[in-house]
Subunit: 343 residues, 4 copies
């Protein structure tokens, strides 16, 4: 199968390349950038020197559709919605890593992204690509979830689906590595300001909030809001998410872990930690794994869920490839069998 | 005023030295270690080369009491309770930075520290040294609070005292720099394991939990438990604490900030951020400041409190000196007027 | 081909596992530890959860030789020389990652490692495994080079072989990430001491010095010594090596780069940077690449060589697999085609 | 004594504020920015909240000269040369932290800074502010040295003055923390690119090279060039400089250390490490100290000098205040007696 990547010079685009290099059934047939005007990738991306022979091309949809069978859009929110149009019109498969096709409710995109949404028709064509819970696995158009959203949704799915949580008690304290902010320069990502530092940003207004609520509602329609915070930690990659919620009935640690183990039994990328064990961020870096640890606090009748993913892996490129595998009918793990890099 | 420091080679002990070097009314007359067998500090602490002329001495309580008017115990929990005995018996002032004299309820120390507590009589002599809320400011014996406890208690004090919180809804997600674990070697503090990583530790069993609950109960006697997590972030210094709680009545961001500003108006080390602003960890490093930012989320009727301190400053040595100032009748800011170090 | 790994719980052992997972022709048939007493790897190595089904075994040479065709010793210097004996005696292939079989001259090991060397007979059986310059590619016993040594030797080979350097002018300033010190706990690898810090260690007495000199002498017999320093930088992985030397005759940047490009033309893991470009450390992390940049300073008639490798890749496990490929007659790049991880 | 600071929002400007807060004889009477358009510092510099009551003003030379007795220019190279003019013309004292008044030879500034120099007349008015070797201590105009230059010059002074070095053998491999690049945004200072990374930049063309050579020539007129490299390490603050040079005659470690100890005997900020000890970067951070360790390698007849400074301390603001003290006749250590911050 032949694919193209638009937005290949960004961190998610580069990570798509890294995974696809290992994919037994997929070949990258062209790479594109909407912002960089160079002839080859290695001029600006030294770690790829001598490793990628493809030229870096402008975006010509017709040409891409001739060369490939599917296109990844690793472009930022706001850009994807424009770039996607000719592909959708031509009935050509797209996996979009931006936020442009995720929010189904009219007005939500505008509220949270501060810009006009893509057309309703195009948005409705996209299936939300939370790989373990795909609604239309054969969809030609996939809106790959946000990194925070992936971690948050996987953390809460089993308990929401079993109706065990007091819905207005959910608090999620999520922390992200700096690569989540992309390559763009800002004071927030300046080394001297970020190193040895931590900060909370977009208080109560992170654009992944409506995406998470939209998905959680599918499992618990009575849910109306969550408390969700996003902080920046001085690591390059990774989401470390801690979720708290009150239970309707008391439970034990053992039962809690067992619910998750059973729920995710056939999901190879979700690894539930044993009772009393909690994942560290590094144990998933460079991979598509999502590791989850669980604890019950009887004094508060509250659970704590610790979830880690690589924001560029399960939080972006890894899940996008998992979605490609689902679409194409490959084994879900194809191209994603790299061990995490440790230490 | 002359003081001695026991445990001077640990991170808190060294930080006491750093602040006291600036103190206009205090002179360090002797320094001691219970574990290091060297003649001078600079043999093991290169940054102090040529700066500390005092010899590094064994612990001889009689000698210390002859030379000094007060002793700081910058020794670990479990050690302080032994070292303190002769000083208490001799009616000699002690500021202890360990957890050995903080928990007033019989059995609590044993439950959370896994060892026998100091004698009830000695524990009751100690005033809990949360400097902004001292009960017996003239006490000769001061149990300096834990770093997490300081941040947690200062975060919640105004709203608990005003009875605005739903008490069983408090969730605290606290993150600490690695110096909080001290100088002791462990896999958890090994660079290759900790760098670019994050982990949650002591799930539901951190020894600061009972200390915090004990203090919060003074302000809200009906409170029985909190949800409290501690994570390790890859920075050297600092506590970044995010607290969440439901309110009895809705509020606005403006009102929330105003409550805190009014409450801490006369407290020079507590700096309340303006509406819409949240402190970053680095803005207090090297200082005794505790900076607090606040937000209200109407969808959840929940507040978020972001609080930062230097774990070795307001969380240890800084507050210990603030307590010394209170005890000795000096201005509270003496010796603590260093600007934070930034970047 | 079936192989066993002894010392699998160390950083180099784990990296062997990571690469071999991708190797098309090699299967790991058993894994062993000389120090850890657990039944499975995932009990102590969380990132491998569910990924390695092999049990963690004691070291039984007979059993290993039954199961495998070659054994990797990823054990520390001092340990390998004992563990290797039964394999050598049984004429069974060994790739040793320690320093125990590298120094050919009697007495050198004792001088630099401070312990007795392996027997002369055993040492002489080992071929020095600098993969681009193997002397006996078919050797059954391979002494894989040190990480610093690999970077230093590859940096200087072309100019020494062409007899262009003033031999007593070579200065190498090498910096290493902390994983080079292994998993062992020490103050030097304690996060709070190492983070935001840099230090020079083993001044003029690093054990890679005699190894480098031994190899350089093969190319320039008149060489008798080099200036070689090793510093620790606050990164997890990587060697960043800067070498300086005076030239016998002036040269241009262009000519210099061309000499290296020609010299390494057929060596896929050595990537010579273009004129005016110098590698950054991160561009090789997670891979077996060795990237080299070059500059000539006419005012000093001196060259600067900037060389980067991943100390666990080309500096250990990566090169060990490259040596396995050479021994077994596989393509040199088998199992080593992972892209570097970036950022 | 009253002083003003222009460029107070940059890292050096902020560090001037931090030190001057402690200075017993100096008061900051006004603060200015050439680029920021805010009314107070704390709007953009959160760590100074409630600590600096001065307004942030535009640059009005007449007003500054009315309010103050001396002005610090903590402005970048290229800006200082313009801002300084009215002060010089008015015979008003200036300490400039930029490179604009350091290079005395016509044409050098243009060659290395790629821009027109200040007027020859103005440059000649400035004394080069290497505090331990001031030529005109009473000068009203002081060109504070560069951070690298300070470390390099102090490293070599004793041996050059004693004529012990082979002059064309000097190799300096200097590493800098990222704050040395200032607050400006660039890919080089982007966290995701810099963290866990190291890079060599400005190969053979760093603008501190001519400054160093100019100063070294004063001590060794026959010297014509040095080999000087600058690398970026992932720490916020600090210069870690390793210098190598051949000696005319062999020496011992003991003699070497003794030469330095004697030479710097009366220089409180230069701390020579004992034989066999080498400074770590962190031991000077937050201070004006310059720590030097020394070793002799008889096999190469070469010395290694390891020198550490805080680039914002002895490399900028600290030394600027030391120069102020010299100018004003205060004790050299006034305001600079803060202990380094450790860990």
């Amino acid at each position: 199968m032949k694919v193209s990547i638009i937005g290949v010079t960004g961190y998610s685009g580069l990570e798509l390349l890294r995974y696809l290099k290992q994919h037994p059934f997929v070949e990258v047939s062209s790479i594109h950038s909407h912002s960089v005007n160079k002839k080859t990738l290695e001029e600006i991306i030294p770690h790829l020197k001598q490793l990628i022979s493809l030229p870096l091309e402008k975006i010509d949809p017709d040409d891409i559709m001739r060369k490939s069978e599917l296109v990844f859009l690793a472009t930022p929110s706001g850009i994807s919605k424009e770039i996607a149009i000719p592909f959708i019109e031509a009935d050509f498969p797209v996996i979009d890593l931006s936020g442009d096709f995720r929010l189904k409710e009219v007005g939500e995109y505008n509220t949270w992204y501060g810009a006009d949404a893509a057309s309703i028709e195009s948005i409705q064509k996209f299936d939300y690509g939370l790989a373990e819970y795909r609604e239309k696995p054969q969809a030609k158009w996939i809106a790959n979830p946000g990194c925070y959203a992936t971690a948050a949704e996987l953390s809460l799915a089993p308990l929401l689906k079993e109706n065990r949580l007091i819905l207005d008690s959910i608090v999620i304290d999520a922390k992200s590595g700096v690569s989540g902010a992309g390559k763009g320069l800002s004071q927030t990502t300046h080394f001297s300001e970020t190193h040895d530092n931590m900060s909370l940003y977009k208080m109560n207004r992170h654009q992944h909030i409506p995406e998470i609520v939209q998905q959680l509602k599918k499992w618990a329609p009575a849910l109306s809001a969550i408390q969700f915070s996003t902080s920046l930690i001085p690591v390059t990659r990774g989401i470390f998410l801690t979720a708290y919620a009150k239970l309707k009935e008391p439970i034990s640690d053992e039962k809690l872990v067992q619910i998750y183990q059973t729920h995710f039994e056939k999901k190879p990328f979700i690894r539930i930690q044993e009772v009393g064990h909690y994942p560290v961020l590094k144990q998933v870096i460079g991979s598509n794994y999502c590791d989850i640890g669980l604890a019950y606090n009887p004094k508060m009748n509250m659970i704590t869920i610790v979830t880690v993913i690589d924001n560029l892996g399960k939080g972006a490129a890894g899940q996008a490839i998992q979605n490609l595998n689902i679409y194409a009918g490959f084994d879900e793990q194809c191209g994603l069998e790299l061990l995490p890099i440790y230490p």
